[in-house]
Structures are given as structure tokens and as C-alpha cells.
């Protein structure tokens, strides 16, 4: 793997770095670059926060309450599968 020596190279690898999907040598290179590059640290932090926001994201939209008919359709399907399992 190419060694991340410049900001652009660090930039390209940041998600893999945050996901812990990089080999240890590449992580070490990124950390060594960041030790001397505040803008990259700040940028990585903003990307980490973006991911964190996604993880805590709760869409405002909720489905309409389940109708009796829709629930009955689902339960019938489940009951059919359960019934088919029982020995004759």
C-alpha cells in the first residue's frame, strides 16, 4: 500500500482509518503525519463526528399505525410457517 505522506493521501484513507480497516503500518503513517498537521487532525475529527451523527440518526418520519388487516396478513404468514413445522 502507498504510504500516506501528504494531506491528500491521508484524506483518501481517512474512512478506512476511522473504521479500523487499515493495516497497522498505514495507521502508524497516518498518525505520524497527523502529529505534525493540525488541519488533518481537525478534518479527521469532523469526519468522525459526521459518522457519529449518522450512528445516532433517528429519522423524524414514522410509519402510520399498522392496520388490523396488515397485521392479520403478517400473522397468518408466521402461523403457516409454525404449523408446517409441527410433525403430522
Amino acid at each position: 500500500m502507498k504510504r500516506p505522506e501528504t494531506c491528500e493521501e491521508v484524506f483518501a484513507l481517512l474512512s478506512d482509518y476511522l473504521n479500523l480497516e487499515l493495516p497497522p503500518e498505514a495507521c502508524a503513517e497516518i498518525e505520524s503525519h497527523m502529529a505534525g498537521c493540525d488541519p488533518c487532525v481537525e478534518f479527521a475529527e469532523s469526519l468522525r463526528k459526521t459518522v457519529e451523527l449518522c450512528r445516532r440518526y433517528q429519522p423524524a418520519e414514522m410509519p402510520a399505525p399498522l392496520t388490523g388487516q396488515a397485521r392479520a396478513e403478517l400473522e397468518a404468514a408466521w402461523q403457516r410457517v409454525l404449523a408446517a413445522r409441527k410433525p403430522l
Binding site: 484524506f11 478506512d16 498537521c37 488533518c40 451523527l53 408466521w78 410457517v81
Partner: protein, 203 residues
């Protein structure tokens, strides 16, 4: 519900335990609806995807051999149901995001010009404005990227699970995730530059 509770729920359902049915429906119907709403953009389609997904889940519940994999299994079915609902995008060319375009603006080289992210609330309840900025950032992602970001970062599925659901390679998942995240970061950065300072003043 955390992953352990979700897996236990799947075990209870497989065991035919009374009460598991309504809990399973209540939990996964909301999850699948929200995913489908973000993928399809239509409430009516999302309601139908949720019902069709659950119906398929119950019809084929015996095929869920590993309850540990209930979430990716349900989302695989939901993804297919979503594809059947695709409207105008069917013939639209897939939009690609370029890495260069997602670099923060800079003169010559870095240092990067980015907004102050330290002001971002880390508390449990996101401010309504921030959530709406996040809604927009997700909705505006090209579909290929949105599909990956929703499964990887919102549903917290693994790279491999996401690759299987979307029927693409793990390298493609990684590439789309990175660019999708960068595009979202950029939109949230724009939001922080404009909306957030006004809120500071109004406080």
C-alpha cells in the same frame, strides 16, 4: 434495541414464542420503513416496502439459520423490496462523487478551511435544526452512496454484510462509504458555517 436484544427477539420468533410476533413487527417495521423512506423518498412506497419485507420475512423465517444475522437478513429483503419500487431513477445514470471535489477548499495546498466542529452538540438529543440538516445531507447523496451510508453508518452493518446486501464488492463499499461520508461532512460543514453561528447570537 441493541444487537443482543435484537438477536434474542429473532430467537424468540423462531421458537414461536407468544409475544415475539408483535415485538418483532413493531421494531423492524419502523426500521425498514425509515430505511425505505430514505431510499425511495415516498411515504406510500416506504409503507409498502415495510409490509412486503415483513411478509417475506415471516414466509421465509425458517431460512434464518443464524439469528445473529437477523439485521442484515431483514435488510437484504428490504433492499430488494426497495428496488421493486424504484421510480424515476431506474433509467437515470448513476452519479459519481469525485474525491477531488470533496477536498475542503484550500489555497495552493492545505491548511484546510473548515467550519468550527467543536460547537457540534454531542448530547443525546440532536437539535431539530441539525437533524434536518442531516436529513437533507442524506437525501441529497446520490443513490449509490446513500445505500452504502445507510447500511454502514446508520444501521451499523459491516463492510461484508453491506457488500452482500447490495451485491457489490467490499472495495466498492469502502470507496462509496468514504465519498458518501465526505459529501455529508461537506454539507454539514456548510450548515455549521451558516446556521450555527446565527443560533449562537440568538441564544
Amino acid at each position: 434495541m441493541d444487537k443482543d436484544a435484537e438477536v434474542q427477539l429473532a430467537r424468540d420468533l423462531l421458537a414461536g414464542e407468544a409475544g415475539a410476533f408483535d415485538r418483532f413487527v413493531g421494531y423492524f417495521r419502523a426500521k425498514v420503513f425509515q430505511y425505505a423512506w430514505l431510499m425511495c423518498g415516498h411515504r406510500e412506497d416506504a409503507e409498502e416496502v415495510a409490509q412486503e419485507t415483513l411478509l417475506k420475512v415471516f414466509e421465509s423465517i425458517n431460512q434464518l439459520r443464524e439469528p445473529e444475522r437477523v439485521r442484515p437478513w431483514v435488510f437484504r429483503i428490504a433492499r430488494n423490496a426497495c428496488l421493486m419500487k424504484r421510480r424515476k431513477s431506474v433509467f437515470a445514470p448513476a452519479q459519481e462523487l469525485s474525491l477531488e471535489a470533496l477536498m475542503p477548499s484550500h489555497e495552493d495546498r492545505l491548511p484546510l478551511q473548515i467550519a468550527d466542529w467543536t460547537a457540534l452538540p454531542e448530547d443525546q438529543v440532536l437539535r431539530a435544526e441539525l437533524r434536518s440538516a442531516l436529513d437533507r445531507a442524506i437525501a441529497e447523496l446520490p443513490e449509490n452512496y446513500r445505500a452504502v451510508v445507510l447500511l454502514r453508518d446508520v444501521e451499523e452493518l459491516s463492510t461484508e454484510e453491506t457488500a452482500q446486501i447490495l451485491e457489490i464488492g467490499t472495495d466498492v463499499v469502502k470507496q462509496r462509504l468514504h465519498r458518501g461520508r465526505l459529501a455529508m461532512r461537506q454539507k454539514l460543514d456548510d450548515y455549521l458555517r451558516t446556521a450555527a453561528p446565527k443560533q449562537e447570537v440568538n441564544r
